[in-house]
Amino acid sequence: MKKFVNDPADVVAEALAGLAAAHPELRVDAVEQYVARADAPRPGKVALVSGGGSGHEPLHGGFVGAGMLDAACPGEVFTSPVPDQIVAATKAVDGGAGVVHVVKNYTGDVMNFRMAAELAADDGITVETVLVDDDVAVEDSTWTAGRRGTGATLLVEKIAGALAEEGGKLAEVAAIGREVNAASASFAYALTASTTPAAGRPGFDLPDDEIEAGVGIHGEPGRRREKIRPAKELVRSALDAILEAKPTAAGEQVIVLVNGLGATPLIELYLVYGEVATVLAERGIEISRRLVGNYVTSLDMAGLSITLTRVTAEMLRLWDAPVNTPGLRWGV
């Protein structure tokens, strides 16, 4: 395995040390392993805490800052954080107005955050949980663990974070987070598997002309393997899946996220965004805002996800609000 690491077991801790050195506006607790805004807790402000396995950077640590998250709990690579860690972060940023946990829908994340929320409640902190489950490749049925949380997490954190920043109450912040999630759908393709530092080899092998369709962000294989096709066709298939799951009429407004999974060059992401814009224009769907880049990644996986979020005027206003984090910044 070739990676810029020392001992694979220390990757997360050492990356956090680097994050701390690079961003004085963040406070990294190396013992409890969380990242918080240096100015937290902010009395009276609803705090947002998220977290999950590492390897999805800039998600979540890179989204801590004014207008987005108050704290993030990075677990080991692709492994959800543990309850103690989440409780420590929750206590560290609680400003007395309650805390929203933004949790991607994975069994491990859900269970660990649930335990943490119970422990925090014992300490008198009110926690509301917003579950993100936007990945339409997985059917939402009793036969699965439910849809996975992927690209929409960024939108939930940005929009709910903006409402918290401007003084939204706990119930309101949680409500808009849930609304954003409900209005979002994502679909992803992988061209290669990712390699975790611990495993040291790719999670699966893919022949030179095959791709995985409907993958998540944890290096797992997708729903099906298929032959590589032109970008045009892949985009159409992904948008078909997305728009079937969340029917969107002509004239409706969306935010589009074309998100690289780690090793896909920006030139390809922009090419794909161009295809998305073409298809949505054909359908009369209006793209109000867009984001093209590597935001919710899967280590060094070559691949991308497309997320569409149907937005209200209020969501757009909150999307445009200032944000100042290592991974997302505007208006400030």
């Binding site: 492994t79 103690d84 994975y106 491990g108 495993a199 290096g219 797992e220």
Partner: protein
């Protein structure tokens, strides 16, 4: 089972899990995210340290402490599940230095219940429940049939092994492997495999 046997079992389990890290990781890479081995190694390495550093007076205490350690160290799906299982197991044991066979049966039931309550899996969902459930049943039946601990533990380990192997044919309906739909079939469940290792460790340390 007394404190000494409990710690011997858990040390053996830690040894087995750590020795099989790569195997568990490989199973998880096929239908999950490839971290089960490393997760379990991290947890059981901490368990071994805790066993070294703590003086226990009650047998139940041992398992409660181990469960808490796993919850605090493992993460992922397996951390809360195994952690809760050990905590429930320890809490169900009577206070004091040792527990009888009947206590162990009841505690195993409590542990299994904790897992199914937390994770919602039912038999056949291709999870660790598919090894854990048969193991508990086999243990219970052996005890009812008059077997001693060595024999009951051996039966439980066999049942766990059969259960783990049988997950290969199943399509996952819980956990990360369920995202693969039918593609999850044909691979043995990593969690069921680690459960088997834990029961096998009990059989090993109690073998005459």
């Amino acid at each position: 089972m007394d404190v000494a046997l409990a710690t011997a079992w858990l040390r053996a389990a830690a040894g087995a899990v750590i020795a099989d890290t790569d195997e568990l990781t490989k199973l998880d890479a096929a239908i999950g995210d490839g971290d089960h081995g490393v997760n379990m190694r991290r947890g059981f390495t901490a368990v071994a340290a805790v066993l070294d550093d703590t003086a226990f007076t009650g047998v139940g205490e041992v398992f409660v402490k181990v469960g808490g350690t796993l919850i605090a160290k493992v993460g992922g799906a397996s951390g809360p599940l195994y952690g809760s299982a050990f905590r429930a197991f320890g809490k169900a044991l009577p206070p004091g230095e040792s527990a009888g066979l009947g206590d162990l049966v009841a505690a195993l039931r409590a542990a299994l219940e904790a897992v199914t309550r937390l994770g919602g899996a039912t038999p056949g969902d291709k999870t660790l429940v598919d090894a854990f459930g048969p193991a508990v049943t086999a243990f219970e039946e052996a005890v009812i049939g008059g077997a001693g601990l060595p024999e009951a533990a051996a039966g439980a380990a066999r049942a766990a092994g059969d259960g783990a192997r049988a997950t290969t044919a199943l399509t996952a309906r819980k956990g990360r492997a369920s995202y693969l739909g039918e593609r999850s079939a044909g691979h043995q469940d990593p969690g069921a495999t680690s459960t088997w290792l834990i029961f096998q460790a009990l059989a090993d340390v109690t073998a005459p």
